[in-house]
Amino acid sequence: MKTDLIINKKTYTVEVQKDTPLLWVIRDIVGLTGTKFGCGVSQCGACSILLNGKLVKSCSTLVSEVAGKQIFTIEGTSENLEFLRQAWNAGNVPQCGYCQSGQLIAATSLLDKIEKPTDEDIDAVMSANICRCGTYSRIRKAIHKAVALKNKTL
């Protein structure tokens, strides 16, 4: 099928099978490779994106479900994502970096929903994302730090 995808506010017209998971359309057809493949079955969060602001796993979202919806990936920018990036830098969070696209997107969605998440809030959302390198304590600290950075500038 021919469909229009709106990714980070830009429209891409693609010709794909309608049951293709969005992940592979973004990566292989549109060519934005920041969104990662980790498991393909909703287990690791590496492929996290925002769909109309909602956190979803793009490996388990069919391209036919997203027409006309706003897709937000790690290549995009938003106020909360920028604070998170700053905090990620300050805390030297990544090791191999591979999971961090998904971690940042999941954290963005967390801050979009909850202004000042508690550790429990963080666990609830971020436990969907695996980091095999084990950067979890830094991720937790960086999310708190992003909130602090944001409050400082407001």
Binding site: Q17, T20, G40, I74, C96
Partner: protein, 738 residues
């Protein structure tokens, strides 16, 4: 511009595609451990590692080791920048291709900093010296009145200063100074070494712009997935491709046969049926739609549960005596007040790096180009030359970022697959493994069983120590019928027991391999660390002694044991990390109900580590609450990076302790994906406190791996402390804990 510089520049451009000129230095790292010889020959520049300083002051460094999350690009860059007195903001790092001119590029064994620090520092110092000479000539003063500071050379008499970029033209016309005139900085003068530096790759990591193997895109490339026999080394009997061909996007389906490595080297590939498509998903779907009949071969009878029983039987009978045993354990046991026995087991494990194995290859008539996340690009290159009969100089291996490696990506079977497919279809192709492929066709960390027996005298001193161990050897992946653990493997914590034992006997029992065996982060130390630390805890309990005190007594008096390496074992350093950790954990404190503390120490990759874990256990629900770790890794190059590595090692150790198990039935691996091969998640992550001993005068030792072996035994010892239940067989989920 001088002739030399033009030549250098051209070669630099040729090799790395850098367009700007500047001063470039290289050094020969194959011999660097002892000698440093920067050479720029007249007609050919044959460097191993580079600094390139451009006229705008930018400095580019070539990283010869693979980056897989251990921070090596940043660490080595910081060593050069420090000696060079460079401003960190001007530094960028480029990844080297796989080529023997870079010296050994095999990124494993926690040795990159250990072997490369000094040559890197010397390169920085040499460049600095040349910049000083250039400035001195400009000012017409003696070099001794000039000093380097923050990207400038300063005239100490007049306080004039010149920016590095402005010295490039003059410096590049100078001869490279003799090594003897190059002086390294004193520890107290370090600006970056031993401090905390941010990763040079942070921006790419947080914007999704770092290119991992799986992100490589070249014009007209295809995507492929390979169906491999569920049983190791099984082959294709026949296959039906009708349904697979119907999958939209599938373009081609071919059989690729196993490439068997010659004895002693390389990894070959498993072979199977490859589905080639115009996107990854179509290739995956096509693969699922194949109907394949397999010749499963002799590994079909392999059941890991049965094998566990077999190994358990074997370690309860006399095995082969391992050299290094001493004294007489039998008479020690006879005289002992009490003897303690225990048997421990660790299952097979898979690495499961977040980025699955993958490679992009383009085979063209007489040359091959590859883009891949490999830990060992040179072996990949020679392996390709061997299997495809193409001269090694016509093979280019481009090293991408690695989305984790942990040992998996030092085996280049996935690269061989990509080249084999590209050769058949005459087009560039990217092979991507599914997570299921990764978990079911790995080079597994071996399973092990070990039996320990200890004798305690009436003063509760250990008088005898017998240890029998069996695990399939890594050597089996290179040499068939290697049915006993090898000497180098036993050297990882078994023969080099850190305790002062009068009567010590180590035996090795038979353990054949029915899966491909490989190394995984900290390798055999996982077994030795688990067995030894669990057993010492059992002995301490039997002796009614405090576990930390008991370890300290067992380590014994201060002694230095020189081995073949330049890194002698120093018992004092091991005791020091243990004392430090006990202090951090407030060992002996009163604990809340259901809480327990456990301790473990381990010496590996020449580093000393002690860890204490605090767990809470409610209804067999284990939560790791706190982890305190101290490491003595000699000179600490990048402190925050070392902490990050040890935090990561904690989580890696927790994953294997809690969930890590690969099992087989009828030769096939039973796990599939992260739902049945689980990882620790953020909700499981404890508070972690890391202390790095201040040993800046000692040479640097391993960091990436030594933090792993202590975690599982410390957790199990803590569970015992909390509940009185001893876990001797991993993982914890199998023992009803979760």
């Amino acid at each position: 511009m001088s002739k030399i510089q033009q030549i250098n520049r051209r070669d630099f451009v040729k090799l790395f595609g850098l367009a700007s000129g500047g001063i470039i230095l290289g050094c020969n790292t194959t011999t660097v451990e002892k000698k440093f010889k920067p050479t720029i020959s007249k007609d050919y520049f044959e460097p191993n590692l580079f600094i390139q300083i451009e006229k705008n002051g930018n400095i580019t460094l070539i990283a010869s080791r693979s980056e897989m999350g251990q921070g090596i690009r940043t660490s080595l860059a910081s060593a050069i920048a420090d000696e060079l007195e460079a401003d960190w903001d001007y530094i960028s790092v480029k990844q080297a291709i796989g080529h023997e001119k870079y010296g050994n590029q095999n990124t494993d064994g926690s040795r990159s900093v250990r072997t490369k620090l000094e040559p890197m520092r010397k390169m920085g110092a040499t460049a600095k010296l040349m910049l000083i000479t250039a400035a001195a000539q400009k000012w017409n003063v003696a070099e001794s009145v000039c000093k380097a500071e923050n990207h400038h050379i300063i005239n100490t008499q007049t306080n004039e200063k010149i920016f590095y970029g402005d010295l490039v033209e003059n410096a590049s016309q100078l001869e490279i100074p003799d090594e003897k005139t190059v002086q390294l900085k004193k520890v107290g003068d370090f600006k970056y070494i031993g401090k905390t530096l941010k990763s040079v790759d942070l921006k790419d990591f947080t914007h999704g712009t770092a290119t991992y193997g799986i992100d490589v895109r070249i014009p007209n490339m295809k995507f492929a997935a390979v169906a491999r026999c569920p049983v190791t080394f099984g082959t294709v009997k026949s296959f039906q491709k009708n349904n697979a061909e119907k999958v939209a996007g599938v373009e081609n389906i071919i059989q690729i046969d196993r490439l068997k490595p010659p004895t002693g080297k390389f990894f070959g590939m498993l072979g199977g049926v490859a589905v080639i498509a115009n996107n990854t998903w179509a290739a995956f779907q096509g693969k699922l739609a194949l109907d394949i009949k397999w010749n499963k071969g002799e590994n079909e009878t392999f059941n890991s549960e049965e094998f566990k029983k077999t190994l358990t039987d074997r370690v309860h009978q006399v095995g082969k005596l391992v050299p290094g045993s001493h004294g007489n354990v039998n008479s020690a046991f006879k005289k002992a007040q009490q003897t303690i026995e225990a048997t421990y087991h660790v299952p097979f494990l898979a690495h499961a790096p977040m980025e699955v194995p993958n490679a992009t290859a383009w085979y063209q008539k007489d040359k091959i180009e590859v883009w891949a996340p490999v830990q060992d690009p040179q072996t990949a290159r020679s392996e390709l030359a061997h299997f495809f009969q193409i001269p090694v100089e016509n093979i280019t291996v481009n090293v991408t970022f690695l989305g984790g490696g942990f040992g998996r990506k030092s085996k280049s079977d996935f690269v061989v697959e990509a080249v084999a497919i590209s050769k058949e279809i005459k087009a560039p192709v990217q092979v991507v493994w599914t997570r299921e492929d990764d978990i079911q066709h790995s080079f597994y960390h071996a399973t092990s069983t070990q039996y320990l027996k200890g004798g305690l005298d009436k003063n509760s001193k250990v008088t005898g120590w017998l240890q029998r161990v069996g695990f399939p050897s890594i050597v089996s992946s290179f040499k068939p019928l290697s049915d006993y653990a090898s000497g180098f493997e036993l050297g990882q914590g078994f023969t080099k027991n850190p305790y002062e034992l009068q009567n010590f006997r180590l035996e090795n029992v038979k353990a054949e391999a029915n899966l491909r065996i490989g190394w995984l982060r900290s390798v055999v130390h996982i077994h030795s660390g688990f067995g030894i630390n669990s057993f010492v805890d059992e002995l301490a309990f039997a002796a009614k002694k405090d576990a930390v005190q008991f370890h300290l007594e067992l380590i014994g008096k201060d002694r230095i044991i020189k081995g073949k390496s330049n890194y002698p074992y120093n018992s004092k350093r091991l005791k020091a990390v243990l004392n430090q950790t006990a202090k951090m954990a407030n060992w002996g404190k009163k604990l809340p109900q259901n809480h327990g503390l456990g301790v473990a120490i381990h010496y590996s990759f020449y580093s000393y580590v002690a860890t204490i874990v605090e767990v809470s256990v409610k209804n067999k629900n284990v939560k790791v609450e706190n982890v305190w770790t101290t490491i003595d890794c000699g000179l600490a190059l990048n402190k925050d990076n070392i902490k990050n590595q040890l935090e990561g090692a904690t989580l890696f150790g927790m994953s294997l302790a809690m969930y890590g198990k690969i099992s087989t039935e009828n030769g096939a691996v039973e796990q599939h994906n992260f739902f049945d091969y689980q990882m620790t998640r953020i909700k499981d992550a404890p508070n972690i406190e890391i202390h790095i001993m201040d040993k800046m005068e000692e040479p640097p030792t391993g960091v990436g791996e030594p933090g792993v072996p202590v975690i599982a035994p410390a957790i199990c010892n803590a569970i015992f402390n909390a509940t009185g239940k001893r876990v001797r067989s991993l993982p914890l989920v199998d023992q009803g804990f979760a």
